[in-house]
């Protein structure tokens, strides 16, 4: 697919969103990235990434779910679009394929 080359951080973000499913709003995504990938990122920066992904058509979002902690303000829940899903799975397949082609002795060296 054309124009769907995404960076590593974008990939991690998309993965986090998939993991979080209905709970995928910015604070959770931020926590997830920290927990899983040890990436500290401020909300502003994350927001920029999310908007960019949205612009590329890999994400879509809607407002919903106001809570008391949020002072009654709704949150923006992100969801992968079909394009987003296919980009992710394409990446996954490419990696899997390439990992599969690494000779066994070399694989041992990597895992040391």
């Amino acid at each position: 697919m054309k124009g769907t080359k995404i960076g590593e951080f974008e990939e991690l973000t998309l993965l986090a969103i998939v993991i979080l499913q209905d709970d995928a709003y910015i604070i959770r995504i931020q926590e997830e990235l920290k927990k899983q990938a040890n990436r500290s990122v401020v909300m502003g920066a994350l927001h920029a990434t999310l908007s960019r992904l949205e612009k590329k058509g890999l994400l879509e979002s809607e407002l919903g779910g106001a809570t008391q902690e949020r002072g009654g303000r709704r949150k923006r829940i992100y969801k992968l679009t079909a394009a987003g899903k296919s980009v992710l799975s394409e990446i996954y397949e490419t990696r899997n394929r390439m990992w599969g082609q690494i000779p066994d002795y070399a694989l041992k060296l990597i895992h040391v």
């Binding site: 604070i27 401020v42 502003g44 920029a48 960019r52 902690e69 303000r73 949150k75 923006r76």
Partner: protein, 868 residues
Amino acid sequence: MSNQLHTPPTISIRLIRALCRTELVEEIEGNLYEYYWIISEDVNRFGKIRFWIQVLTYLRPSTLKLFKLKNSGSMFIFNPKIAVRSLFKHRVSTSINLLGFVIGLLSTIFIYFYINTELNIDSFHVDKENIYRVIRTSEINGAPYDVGVTSGPYAEALINDYPSSINTTTRAFPQNGLVKIADKKFQENKMIFADRNFFEFFSYPLAEGNPGDVLSLPNSVVISREIATKYFGFKDPIGEIIEVDNEYKFTITGIMDDLPAKSHLDFNMVFSIELFEGFDWFHGWWNNGLVTYINVPNTQQAHYLDTQFPEFMEKYFGDDFEASGTKIGLHVEPLEDIYFNNKTRFDPVVHGDLSSLIILGAVGVIILFIACFNYINLSIAMAFKRAKEVSVRKVLGVEKTRLITQFLGESMMLLLASMLIAIGLSIALKPIFNSVFELDILFNWADQLVIAFMIGLVLVVLVTSGLYPALLMSSFKPVSILKSGKIPLGKNSFIRKGLVVAQFSLSIFLIIATLLIGFQLDYMKSKPLGYNKESLLIIHINNQEIQSNDELFKNDLLRHENITSVTSASGEPGGFHDGTVLQISGVNVNPKVRSSFADTDYLKTLGIPIAAGRDFDRSFANNDSMAMMINEKALAEIGLTAEEVIGRKVTIPGFDIDRRIVGVVKDYHFTALNNEIEPQAIIMGYTHHRRFIVRMNDVDIPNTLRHIEESFNKHSPNFPITYQFHDEGLDQLYADEQKQARVFSSFSGISIFLACMGIFGLAAYAAEQRQKELGIRKILGASVQQVILIISKEFITLVVIAAVIAMPLTWIFMENWLHDFAYRIGLAENWMVFIFGSLVAGIIAFLTIALKTYKTAASNPTDCIRYE
């Protein structure tokens, strides 16, 4: 759980609301609320900071509102795009205003830092409130004066007599001498000899060495970084040996750091004063030469000391006072007053001149005002061009307050741009400015006051120059303007004219003042001084060798064909003249006089005429070894005729031998012309001599100088010669006045330039406004010259009014300024200067206008009247 606890700071929410895109605000706020809630649960004490990091990093292109300069009309309170457009549209007036503001702000910045530097002198001493200097008071013929120097014994006597009023004392003894380190040898003029507690008493910073013990050994010396580099380069100087005057050896024990501010004591080497303790004269009460400081517990004690001093002086000087029939007093001067008290005589410390400082400040403010007036005038002129724009906006419903904000905003943009340029330029031009005006300005950006000052400056200028045009423009009546297309000219033309008059008054004032200050300086330089000041060379007797060989040296000098006469004396005219008292036999009054000790050739060398009696005579030098002469002022003080006075015996305190008056000399100026001629006694004597005065012929001076240097080296092989041409030395006496003259001439140039730029802009505007009228006039037969005259007439009238206002004010100011000079030019005989100054301003203004309007005047009249 309480909501209060988990509500993020209101300001953060406001910030987000103000700056972020509306559609994102809800989400972002929600996120911040939640984040804040999370970190409040957390015990981490950096929570607040982490929260603010989140807030601030939210402000980025992807979230911020679109601040692209939009022309979406009246909805914005301040519309930068319209502001920028209007500034670019009126390029000429924008550049005039920009230049004016930059120059005005630049002057103000310099003056701020200058005043700041001067006022911060000695501000770094930790105990500065409690440090006082002990100064002596004396009087000469009823006029009291302060003397900066005291003698060695004061410090110890003071602390012994008033132990509860004085904590500590210290002494500083300024000297110069020949310093030799290894193979390097220089004459140093900024040496001081100081008590061992000097570096504890004051807070001069040390780069190496401990303030407490750096001067504790009798032969220790502390040097400045500059001296260290001069003699040692990159080598560590600690422990090295310094030889002073080829005789005394000192070990370097410390290095001074650069001073954080300027100081009244200017020195680069501090020696231990112990050296002098060995000399008898150092313990004499009358051998003044050093500066005594005391540290008191509080101000009351200082006042108390002042009341005790008469008793103190009586205790130590009682007998001398009785014998001489005169008295000297003592008082203390706070450390912070020392620098500006430049009336103190015989003062080795550095002084500043408060009146120059005030004049400089006032001139800076004048320049700033001229720039502000330009802005007001040009903005008013532009206002009429923008009348339609304003009217349309008003019709569309824009409120008056918004229009005011818009116009103030435009002024603010221009002003901020000028401020940035001015700050940049001030940094770049500082070295030039310092050298042109011989100042020593330090820029202290770290000072918090600087920022407050800059902001205050911008606000003051904004209000002065931006408010009136903004109010004027916003008050236009849209209906009449849109209907008739005409703008109601009216009372504001009075304000405009008033401002032009004010600008030119100030410029004319500065021009006339510049000229008159220059005249006064010329007058002082060319006034006959009562002796022949040309072709005199002054050689300093600065060491023992030359002092003991003075006769031989003198004879060697006279051997040269171009040296006509040589004398040695205690001081040259304009130089040092001590004070003393004469007790004349059979006369009741004991006149106080300035004393000059000189040899037989003093009058001959200087060319001072005798009024009565005779000069010292070399042929019966034996008798004349106790001769003396007085000047006419001293004669008048005594109240006898010359015949009655000649031959009388005179006792001078401190001298064993009585003197005899042999002659009366005509008064000559032996001090700077700021002072009246004082009574003087020229006393025969070979001790106390500090100078050789050499009269030369004006031919082949280099050759003569070479001969002088060779002779000096022959008789004083170990010390280099220091000499100076007398007329140059005299010029230095007027350095302050010359500095003021330079300040005035530069700033009057700038002010007339700014005023003309303003009038240039106004003339351009007037020519444009009256284009049609001028076209019709030309068709009816007016010439180009006549057309130019029509436009100039209005402005020239204003300049004439300005001159009428400026002349009397300048007169009053100059009367005041000249008041300080005992010998001065008269203003009445220089009335031409006033006319001339005004004419210069008028002519420059006319040329400016003519230059600008020529194009309009010379254009084809059909071009401007053809189209309706």
